[in-house]
């Protein structure tokens, strides 16, 4: 099964709708609750990153019998130093975004903790691509 979603940069009123849609899909598919919760956390963070930092983004969700693969590609400023961005507490979010309680520098680490495989590639000035794979059976990786 494949699903596609669009994300508009800066659109905080819809932040979380992709994660929420996927949550409903996983519930319908009767996916293990613990695994589904991890997927939703990771997706929410990826979605918020696009809203907070990029101009636009496209999410592709592929679900087969053993795993969910999420691919999030955005057009935006990109990440010049990915290891730095992965550090907990590091954030380049604007003061306005921080005031809302985002931009705590926890997003990428939440993503890493809540998926089995995380790949981030980025071209500064162009955009960022994120791939996250989560297996439905915790021991299947």
């Amino acid at each position: 099964m494949q699903y596609r979603f669009k994300i508009a940069g800066g659109d905080f009123s819809n932040a979380g709708t992709v994660a929420s849609s996927v949550k409903k899909i996983l519930r319908q598919l009767n996916i293990n609750h613990t695994v589904s919760k991890r997927i939703v956390i990771a997706l929410y963070e990826a979605e918020v990153n696009v809203v907070a930092h990029a101009y636009s983004g496209l999410v592709e969700i592929d679900i087969d019998s053993e795993k969910l693969r999420a691919y999030i590609a955005d057009k935006g400023p990109g990440i010049p130093d990915i290891p730095k961005a992965m550090e907990e507490g590091f954030s380049t979010a604007s003061p306005q975004v921080r005031e809302m309680g985002f931009g705590a520098g926890m997003g990428l680490s939440n993503m890493k903790r809540n998926c089995d495989i995380l790949n981030i590639t980025s071209e500064p000035g162009t955009g960022t691509n994120v791939e996250m794979i989560t297996y439905f059976k915790p021991d299947a990786r």
Binding site: G16, K37, Y44, F102, A104, M106
Partner: protein
Amino acid sequence: MKITDVIRELGLKVLSGHEGLENEVTGAYVSDLLSDVIGNGREGNVWITLQGHHNIVAVASLKDLAAIIIVKGIQPDEETIRKSKQENIPLLSTEDDTFTVAGKLYNLILKQ
């Protein structure tokens, strides 16, 4: 313990999300950082925060939280109220600050 019990014991005002008032409470989480709540909040938790914008409802709904308590009489946005009705997440208000209401809730949960 249900949300209705928390409301009664702590003297909270119900702003919206009446349909979720029978939600079971498993505990509570205190944070104003959304990523912290997304990462560490647990299903059935009451979330205490000073944030009043509508993204708090999205977070609460994704995490299946039992309710949100907004502190210091802060009035949430219209959109927050609308979304809380839609998602059946009770929005509760207190004049207390975070420390005070968290202390009261902690004692209440310990007592049971």
